[in-house]
């Protein structure tokens, strides 16, 4: 059985020392090992940004595509091979700026993939512009006098769109994060794990300490019921999107794959592509 070590490769991440993304990477590797996955069974699909580099740092199949498009790419991989464990991953700019449209539709579509966002509330790779999750008033290179736009709150957007599995983690709490990722992968449908992952270089406001002081860990609320959608919505509003832990889980939704007419249990990648001649003749007859 594969261990955490098997999900490591010899590539040195080019992240700044202290970047929150390191523990997200470690948590994904730990979760995959805990679930008994083998590297060849896993595909990590990422977008562009510091965080988007993650697909290159995990020993598995990996696809580092274009900015904002990890979700459609990942859904394509899963549709071609329903047996593969497919993880999409990237930053808040990638996922909720340029890629927000895909996010909303991935939620609706419910292909069984897991989306892990490293949310640092800033654009790291392009060196410090504000991001869609930056707070109102936040100063960055493109908001020198303070952000005049409101922040998008990923958990609220996800619930609003009707997501089936929603969790939020924090880079410093690896134990919780590993468990959330495991649950997300095991969930049969689209799952989001939004992770507060501080950018130590460009974001001087939302630091490790700031998150430590501000996140609200739902695990410490003994009576929190993650299957109650109205409660989940109230909680993300009351905590201004800072709740961590498993926020919502819907057991009644059926994944996209399960509903495709005629979709076979055998992954498409293993299909014999030669068309049956009877089927072909029938198809041609329609035009006679």
């Amino acid at each position: 059985m594969a261990t955490v070590k098997d999900f490591r490769n010899d590539v040195r991440p080019n992240w700044c020392p202290g970047c929150g993304d390191f523990s997200v990477q470690a948590s994904i590797q730990r979760a995959l090992a805990n679930l008994g996955k083998e590297p060849h069974e896993v595909a990590v699909i990422s977008g562009i940004g510091c965080s988007g580099r993650i697909s290159g740092y995990i020993n598995s199949y990996g696809f580092h595509g274009v900015h904002g498009r990890s979700l459609p790419t990942a859904q394509g991989v899963k549709l071609a091979n329903r047996d593969a464990t497919v993880i999409a991953s990237g930053g808040d700019g990638d996922g909720f700026g340029i890629g927000l449209n895909h996010f909303m539709h991935a939620v609706r579509r419910n292909v069984n993939i897991t989306y892990i966002v490293m949310d640092n509330q800033i654009y790291g790779l392009t060196k410090g512009q504000h991001s869609p999750t930056s707070a109102h008033g936040f100063t960055a290179k493109t908001t020198p006098k303070g952000n005049i736009e409101n922040a998008l709150i990923p958990t609220q957007v996800a619930l609003g769109a009707g997501i089936g599995f929603l969790a939020q983690g924090f880079s410093s709490d690896v134990k919780q994060l590993v468990s959330l990722i495991e649950q997300g992968i095991e969930y049969d449908g689209f799952s989001l794990i939004n992770v507060f992952s501080p950018c130590v270089t460009y974001n001087k406001v939302n630091t490790y300490d700031w998150y430590r002081e501000n996140v609200v860990n739902l695990e410490q609320r003994g009576d929190y019921d993650p299957t109650d959608r109205a409660l989940a919505m109230r909680t993300v509003i009351e905590t201004n999107g800072l709740a961590t832990g498993l926020i919502y889980r819907d057991e009644t939704r059926v994944s996209y794959q399960e509903q495709i007419p005629g979709y076979t249990k055998e992954p498409i990648v293993h299909h014999n592509l030669q068309l049956d001649s009877e089927l072909f003749d029938k198809a041609v007859k329609q035009f006679a």
Binding site: Q75, L79, A80, N81
Partner: protein, 578 residues
Amino acid sequence: MLDQLSWKVGGQQGEGVESTGETFAVALNRKGYYVYSFRHFSSRIKGGHSNDKVRVSVDQHRAIADYTDVLLAFDQETIDLNGDDVREGGIIIADEKFKPVAPEHARLFVVPLTKIAEDCGSAIMKNMVSLGASACVLGLGTDIFRPVVEERFLRKGQKVVDQNMEAIQRGFDYMAELGGADPEFALKPIDGTPRLFMTGNDALGLGALAAGARVMPAYPITPASDVMEYLIKKFPEVGGVVVQTEDEIAAMTMTIGAAYGGARAFTCTSGPGLALMMEAIGLSGMTETPVVIIDTQRGGPSTGLPTKQEQSDFLAALFGTHGEIPKIVLTPSTPEECYTSVGEAFNLAEKYQCPVIVMTDLQLSLSKQTTDVLKLEDITIDRGLIATESDFNDEGERQSGEFKRYEITESGVSKRAFPGAKGGVHHVTGVEHMENGRPFENPANRQKMMDKRLRKLEGVEIENSVVRTGDENPDVLVIGIGANTGAISESMSLMRKDGMKVAHAQLHALLPFPVQQLNEAMKGAKKVVVVENNGTAQVKRLMAFFDVKHHEDVSSLLKYDGTAFLPVDIYNYCKGLV
């Protein structure tokens, strides 16, 4: 007696114009005639004039005729807009209901279409009455319509079939009483080898099915949507999936994901969608992921003329993406070629691991026409280089970076491994990378990788990328692309009648650009003209760009008013040249 007939039906959109044309065309195609139909419609769903022009002939023609012999009019607007198109002595059959006024050069027959239909049970059957009237004029019986009517209405019960057949018969009888059966308009009988009747889009969908496509993410757009609508019905039989994505960017990147995952995946769009896909097409080139994109061109720029003919995406398809990638562009001109082009496109994409764009145009995509019987054997499946277990180092699983997905090879093509393959674990990125797929910006590596990717196309040869027919040393050689093939061949017959020597070269691929083949085709031609549906002579410019010999002597016949070329357009232009 006529060896060909041009027939047109017109009315308000939503009034059954399309089904009238379709029933007429299918019936005659079944009888063994060659049929070519072209729909004129606007982007409004209801209301607005639409017409369906159908050409029926003893020999094959793949263009609409320059004129109309018989016009069925459901309203006065149809006569006002199409009366000029009716030839001297041609026939207009119009509904009594709107008190038709017709131009003097035509013979008007006023038939109470709506009234007869009402007598038979419902006003909506006026189109059936009009079909009966046409059948009378053309010296055809009404029986040819029975199987088509049955297919259409038997679901609703025998009574509905009988009512419709009665409507046809009464239209026939009424016309006979008016003295409508005119031997001059009778179609020459035909012994009738039944063929298929389909659009270019039908053929693209069937081709994709036969070629083993199993994942099709796409976003609806005219005139491409039929392809996905067709496959949504067919894929359940083969375990495939069509995803109607949120936009074309998702369609393209999902196609890439599915292809990377090991499926034969493709998408289908038109100009505006192709524009949105460009970044991802670059990704497919860089990551060497084989994808097929079908671009059914329509009038641009921007939303332009969404329901009209144009061929103006060639330059975008060839040069649209940023950076430099290997890419193949195919340009079929008939449904038969659409069918085989899709098969070829998948094979080329997987053989060279690059994007392949198949370009049609609205006229080819939507014109329903008599088509040879398509054969499954005409599409073969070649999946290119795929790694098998023996290619993997046993250690590959545990030591990532072992599998060289981008191994530098002489052909430039390297073996692929799909997620799930043990030992094939590797990284893929749109960032410049080394042989194992990891990012690497070193200049020497960059150069080697660029060369590897671009080298892939050096060996590509596309069979019949230029098809030349006609005379040696012609007075005029006409070069065409896409749907204009039909109008060109027909203009050639007209020129021949005038004693001209003529030849026709049709382009079936734009990338790799068939320089040699064009040089060969142009040999000995006194004049060369390129016929294309755009305003900037894109194909002619490509001849200059790729340095086709004597390209400076080539002239251009362009049409970008949204209408298709008529044989007479090309004939007149060529006459003027010599």
